[in-house]
């Protein structure tokens, strides 16, 4: 390609401004390339920075002992367990709601209603998470107390629009010929959805849910007012305040103790490793589903 462009183009005389076109083209490609490099570079810098500063404090004790508020021997097992429970509860609330919303908009709603719903979801997705946190605080915490339930509800509100929107996109990839085939066999709409649409798109639906899980695991603002004042011990009852990794990172980094600073980085590493692992699984699944759906087009 390069060679051809450099050689004298025998037809070049017929194209006006050929030189200018080539320069503009090269400039566009160059800036796009630069943009992409910055994105990749940022990820690498963040991950490398967290690994470099956190890896030193990662050891079995750190992962299996609850926080020690004074000494330097403790770990973050209470936060790991708490975040696992919070994310599981949030997923239990958000995945059904998100997927049903996606199914409703893509399979049942009229075109106008569907586009309205998509807009609402986009707005919900854009609501700053600190506002989500205050909302849940007003609804579930005021007059009661902070709790795992309240924290999970905050995370679920973050997850729903993510799951619903990605679900809609996957469902749009399901060829309409499959729905028609099913309807033409006498299947009702819900049966078509259950037997044909969901099985065909399940990988993509799971991918969307996984990415939302990865996102929720690191969300801090929704927990700030709802699930942040917790004891330094492993807690599994969601009606109490569940310790969690994001708030722990914040607290450790506020501590005057340099050991705690190092532990904050280590906790960040645990979180980022989880997020990367979940995204990787999601990506594998999504690649497989997309390939299959593409073959069907």
């Amino acid at each position: 390609m390069r060679l051809r462009q450099m050689a004298v183009d025998p037809l070049g005389a017929r194209v006006p401004n050929l030189r200018r076109r080539r320069i503009v083209n090269a400039a566009w490609i160059g800036s796009a390339w630069a943009g992409a490099s910055i994105a990749v570079g940022l990820l690498l810098v963040v991950v490398a920075g967290v690994v470099a500063r956190g890896i030193g404090s990662i050891n079995p004790t750190f992962l299996t002992t609850p926080t020690d508020p004074f000494g330097s021997g403790g770990g973050i097992s209470n936060a790991i367990v708490g975040t696992a429970i919070l994310v599981a509860l949030a997923s239990a609330m958000a995945v059904p709601v998100g997927i049903l919303t996606a199914l409703y908009t893509s399979e049942f709603a009229s075109r106008r209603l569907a586009s309205g719903l998509r807009y609402v979801l986009d707005v919900l997705n854009g609501v700053p998470t600190i506002i989500t946190g205050i909302f849940v605080f007003g609804l579930l915490v005021v007059g009661r107390s902070q709790s795992g339930w309240a924290g999970a509800a905050g995370l679920a509100i973050v997850m729903v629009p993510l799951i619903a929107r990605s679900g809609q996109e996957v469902l749009a990839l399901v060829p309409s010929g499959l729905r028609e085939a099913s309807l033409a066999l006498g299947a009702s709409r819900w049966r078509t959805v259950l037997r044909v649409v969901i099985p065909t798109s399940i990988g993509g639906l799971v991918t969307g849910a996984l990415l939302a899980v990865a996102r929720a695991a690191g969300e801090t603002a929704p927990l700030l007012f709802t699930c942040s004042i917790f004891p330094n011990l492993v807690q599994t009852d969601p009606s109490r305040v569940l310790p969690n990794i994001p708030i722990t990172i914040f607290q450790f980094s506020e501590s005057p103790d340099p050991v705690k600073h190092a532990q904050a980085w280590a906790a960040a590493l645990v979180l980022i490793a989880f997020v990367l692992a979940v995204s990787m699984v999601a990506r594998l699944l999504s690649a497989r589903t997309r390939r299959r759906l593409q073959e069907l087009r």
Binding site: P175, L183, L185, G186, P199
Partner: protein, 289 residues
């Protein structure tokens, strides 16, 4: 027909109490190819108009599909062939804004009647689409069983019905050793025959085929054409095709449509050798379309 008729009625649908009213003039159909003992149903469209939203695309079609006969439907693309056949199994109403007026009788049942359930219609009137569309998550066998499951055939009867359907679709020998392979692992032509088997499994009285060969190579097309010729004794067939040679080869009766109107219908021989309407003649001689 007898079994399905009972099921139609058992599902709470009633037949017409009053005989069909006066019919509008039906274009002369030469009665050809009607075989005695053909077991499909007669479909009669009467002044059928179809709309997408407010846009009318069928302007009053009157046409009969006779048992034992392959009715070819030809016409330039966009003239309303697909819309017309999709009115017969009420798939047209699945399109947002899709609406259909006029009467469509399956033998003496008005398919658009208020008591008629759409599931019963789709069961009595099967459909094969342009692009083979086996369910990708289902095996070969699973695809054929799907319709039976949808319409609630008891489990123990499904397998034998599926085998019969695959046999009827000329696919059994090719797939009997790999029934649990995915349906989409078959070749294009085999996939289309799988879709035919899937439609046949629920024992329809009418089979609508909307350009079933247009995505297939010539050899696969020939298999399907042979199949259609064999199946017409059991099920009334409407074959939409943009391929006039195909209509000439296998349709007994051919209907020519243009811009939402039925221009002419008659025995295929006559339609191709001695069309009455000038536009038909222009179309079949390739002078437009």
């Amino acid at each position: 027909m007898t079994i399905d008729r009972k099921e139609l009625d058992a599902a709470g649908r009633v037949r017409h109490e009053t005989p069909p009213g006066p019919r509008t003039e039906v274009p002369a159909v030469d009665r050809v190819g009607v075989e005695h003992g053909a077991s499909g149903s007669r479909v009669h469209l009467e002044d059928v108009k179809a709309y997408y939203g407010t846009k009318r695309v069928l302007h009053g079609i009157t046409l009969s599909l006779e048992p034992g006969v392959v009715t070819g439907i030809i016409g330039p693309s966009g003239c309303g062939k697909s819309t017309m056949v999709r009115c017969i199994n009420r798939m047209h109403e699945e399109v947002p804004g899709g609406r259909c007026e006029g009467r469509i009788l399956l033998d003496e049942i008005d398919l658009n009647g208020p008591e008629v359930d759409v599931v019963g219609v789709r069961r009595a009137v099967g459909m094969v689409f342009q692009k083979p569309n086996p369910f990708p998550t289902m095996s070969i066998l699973g695809n054929v069983l799907a319709g039976l499951r949808f319409v609630g055939v008891p489990r123990e009867r499904r397998i034998e019905r599926a085998e019969a359907a695959l046999t009827d679709a000329g696919l059994w020998d090719e797939v009997k050793d790999r029934l649990s392979d995915p349906g989409v692992s078959l070749s294009g032509g085999q996939q289309q025959r799988l879709c035919i088997a899937r439609a046949l499994a629920v024992e329809p009285d009418v089979l609508l085929m909307d350009e079933p060969c247009s995505a297939l190579d010539p050899a696969a097309t020939m298999r399907i054409e042979e199949l259609i010729t064999q199946l017409k004794r059991r099920v009334t067939i409407a074959l939409v095709t943009h391929n006039m040679q195909q209509a000439a080869r296998i349709a007994d009766v051919t209907a020519f449509m243009l811009a939402g109107e039925l221009i002419e219908v008659g025995s295929t021989d006559r339609m191709f050798t001695d069309p009455q309407d000038e536009r038909t003649e222009q179309y079949v001689t390739g002078r437009f379309g």
